[in-house]
């Protein structure tokens, strides 16, 4: 399976976050595990034509969650991570890590485990880290909120959307 240029760049992009981690310490993960979890998060929310898990710093959110309020999920991560690595080795003999797989291979691996509690938990964490409040380390530059098109202001005035604007216009005529 050949790697496209885009896939290579995405893999490189995910790695860059881990390199950054060498200067900023993770609170829970070791850097190697972080790069593997981030590879999964980057397939759940890819950095494609808009920022995804990597650029939003989702791994930092997950790290903080497991170090803090979601510390009771550590066991799930540990077991699920080991099972996922076993699955990887079985599906792609000779491979050594998830982050080293081609994008298509990563997707095939995640499809094989997408019903597991572990995958669902990583998905949950990735989404919270992408669309939750930036104060938890994720959603950098409000990348997630920009994607879904919200302004995130403290107050708004009517009209709020297309249909109420149209109704008030026709009503005021």
């Amino acid at each position: 399976m050949s790697i496209t240029r885009r896939e290579w760049m995405l893999a490189a992009a995910c790695w860059s976050e881990v390199l950054r981690a060498q200067t900023r310490q993770f609170a829970f993960f070791d850097p190697a595990t972080a790069s593997e979890i981030e590879a999964i998060a980057c397939q759940i929310i890819p950095d494609d034509d808009t920022p995804g898990a990597r650029q939003a710093g989702v791994i930092w959110f997950i790290d903080g969650a497991l170090a803090g309020y979601d510390s009771d999920k550590r066991e799930l991560y540990k077991l699920g991570f080991a099972e996922t690595q076993a699955k990887r080795a079985q599906m792609f003999p000779g491979s050594t890590r998830i982050a080293g797989l081609a994008s298509g291979q990563q997707i095939a691996l995640l499809k094989a485990i997408e019903k597991t509690e572990f995958f669902q938990q990583v998905r949950r964490h990735a989404v919270l880290g992408f669309l939750g409040h930036p104060q938890y380390g994720g959603n950098r530059g409000m990348a997630g909120w920009k994607l879904i098109g919200i302004e995130h202001q403290m107050q708004y005035q009517p009209p709020f959307g297309y249909y109420d604007a149209a109704a008030s216009e026709s009503g005021s005529k």
Partner: protein, 526 residues
Amino acid sequence: MAKELSTAGFRVVVLEQGPWRHEKDFTHDEISVMYRCGLTNDFRKQPNTFRKTPAEAAKLQPAVEYGRMVGGGSVHFTSNYWRFHPEDFRERSALGAVPGADLRDWPIAYDDLEPYYTKAEWDLGISGRGGSNPFDGPRTKPYPLPPMPVKSSGVLFDRAAKKLGLNPFPAPVAVLSRPYRGRPACVHCGFCESFGCEVGAKSSTLAALIPEAVKTGRCEIRPNSYVRKIEIGADRRIRGVIYFDAAGREVFQRAKAVVLSANGAETPRLLLMSKSNAFPQGLANSNGNVGKYLMFDNGALALGLFDHPLNEYKSIVVTRVLHDYYRSDPKRGFYGGGGLDSRFDYYPAGFALDGMPRDMPQWGSDWKRAVGQYYTHMMGVLAHSSCLAVEQNSISLDDTVKDAWGLPALRVTFQNHPDDMKTIQFLAERQKEILETAGARKVWFDPVSLEEATYSRHLMGTCRMGDDPRSSVVDRWNRAHDVPNLFVLDGSSLVTCGRQQPTATIQALAYRAADHIRQAASRGEI
């Protein structure tokens, strides 16, 4: 209640298990509020067990959610403020018995409660247009405030419903459309449901009434005070309560009378924990009815995708409602009915996690792109549908699981009556009809909401009101049949659950009971 009694001259101590928050303590933080139980009971500290029927072994599984703070559920609720209809109080007489359920008439009628609905609406500050719902009972006064500005969801819902020959009306909501009694109007920030209001425009008891109570100098709010037992004396009357303070120390608070408002799950739990020689089955439970007839929050959520942006993330959740399917119609062949409202109550992460159609991928580039397109272009129609009272659906004490204070955990037993499920299905078709008529490009359902309920934020029915002390827990004044100085004011005294949205009725009952307490006390009858 605290406000009514303290302004009437009584000395009141409010014991609340949660904290006393203020506007400045509330946030727009979805992670804290929705995923870390920021304002609600935390299952990790206060676990519950769940089973569908008494034949099953109960397992650890979150089943109840409630506001855990001064002001309770009124702080974080969506703010729908519906009166019950006159028919709600006498469904048994009108419809007859429902096999497998215990449908009963209330001991009081709508007319008994009407003055107190009005009082609550004016005291709290409710926005709406009186008389706009043709199915409502008579009212003595309009709402104090005009309706909130209609959102795109309301416009689409209104238009479609009228096309279908239905009667949509502006939602009555506990949110200020204009400044009222020193509180500001809503700023449309969009963080209403599940959140506390940062400007005090949501008409919670916290924002509207607690300050009035405190101002009297006769009401002390004691937050972080977790009551574990109500104590009675040799005369079978309450002497006071024992609670854990914030430091975990036990404190005894003497009381001439106790008003128990711990919600439809915690109220029966506390009564069941308050065992004594006089009440070996738990306080006020001589007939064994405490905890029984638990009613849940039913109704499916239909979602629709539209061509143009609705931007439903702005402003309050609900701006239009219809009650055309509210009444139980024997022609349908089953008991039940519901109200429908136009809404969108997903926050960003929750939407991406659970709100997308299940026939689409749930992760990856296509999903991500769709999440980006859908969020601002969607609305929902939610059904608030009936839930029959069934004796075995109940709150009881778990045999083995304890909470972080060492007290027996809540055990929830609940399974919908078959008619509840038929009602949900019937209404789901109506919801779909409305969204399609409104021009939705795609319509789907939150699949969980179509299944039997295993989780509820509305907790009702567990200390039923009735005239007969053999078959009910409290009398028509919300006073315990067994204990003359105990009053129960929350969802637990509800005989039927109407069509959900119980807040207005609970609050009207509280105003009515406060009147009664005042009068009874002046006659020396408490």
